[in-house]
Symmetry: C2
Subunit: 190 residues, 2 copies
């Protein structure tokens, strides 16, 4: 999810097991679960690797993010009090810090934490879980993107999200979230 592993990276059950000090059996179960969520690809012969996404798949996953996260943000809006907004601003400073440090994995992690913190207020666990599986599928690819483009400014739309939350502006919030989610992935489509 955080882009620690590059797209197309091959993994082996024995290797995973050794890495975590367990036998093949727990490694297999973990791999099967992640494969079920689309986070890993199983070849026809059962080999395991992180997915390499084509443009059409990236666009589809971006559309899914927009669909789900706009709804989650909208549901979180009525419950968003000052304490939440403060936390979001704090996380956003971490995001900015990661940008200046050129830390791709740290950036993705902080960025997703920003979104998750907001969506947790939506009281919609199934919807949040599905959004997280989408993040999981995009993880390796997002790393490849943020590793390429060398940005220096923190995400602009996060400020718009916070502003819309403060103002209780639902249409503005929907637009800001949709823009934030779409923006990064639009650049990825080659």
């Amino acid at each position: 999810m955080h882009g620690d592993i590059a797209p197309g990276q091959a993994l082996t059950l024995r290797g995973i097991g050794k890495e975590f000090g367990v036998s093949m059996t727990p490694a297999r179960e973990a791999v099967r679960r992640l494969a079920a969520e689309g986070a890993l690809t199983l070849s026809s012969s059962g080999r395991v690797s992180t997915p390499e996404l084509g443009n059409d798949r990236i666009e589809e996953l971006a559309a899914l993010r927009a669909l789900l996260e706009v709804e989650l943000a909208s549901r979180a809006l009525p419950r968003a009090h000052m304490a939440l907004i403060d936390r979001l601003q704090s996380i956003n400073m971490t995001v900015a810090e990661m940008v200046t440090k050129r830390d791709a994995v740290g950036y993705i992690r902080a960025n997703l934490e920003f979104h998750r913190t907001l969506y947790l207020r939506a009281q919609a666990p199934a919807m949040l879980a599905i959004a997280e599986t989408v993040w999981l599928q995009l993880g390796p690819t997002m790393r490849a993107l943020y590793g390429r483009l060398r940005r220096t400014e923190p995400p602009h739309y996060h400020k718009l999200i916070i502003a819309a939350l403060k103002a209780g502006d639902e249409p503005g919030l929907r637009l800001a979230v949709r823009s934030d989610v779409t923006q990064g992935l639009r650049l990825l489509v080659s």
Copy 2:
């Protein structure tokens, strides 16, 4: 997904293995995968059972169905030709037949086939996969619903969906799909 198993039904790895003539290992992998998709619940001690959904969870999953399936239908609309509409009408006759036969599992199966046939035209495999995991989570509960209410008429909104497809009426299609998806599950909320 088709409601063959009642909500809260307990399952055992050895029992599943025996049922399909395999050992515990493949049964475990299947269970873990289904649990990852939310189709099965693992208790804290690892016991396996089908989920018993509360009202809030049912409403959330219904909202997810509406969100996803309206989008899928909208994407399928431009690609929906006469051959597809004919197939949908044919499947709809099967749905009506299952209603008169009071066959709950057959009804759910035919109903989902109706929706899947339409959404396949959307060329959005990730979105369809997620919609199917939602169906999976609702399977046992839907069976409990359709087993309770004794309906005699086939679903009205299916005809509206087909009519909107024929007319190329996108707003009408979105409304019809949303109504069809929401209607059944609204009755379930006690």
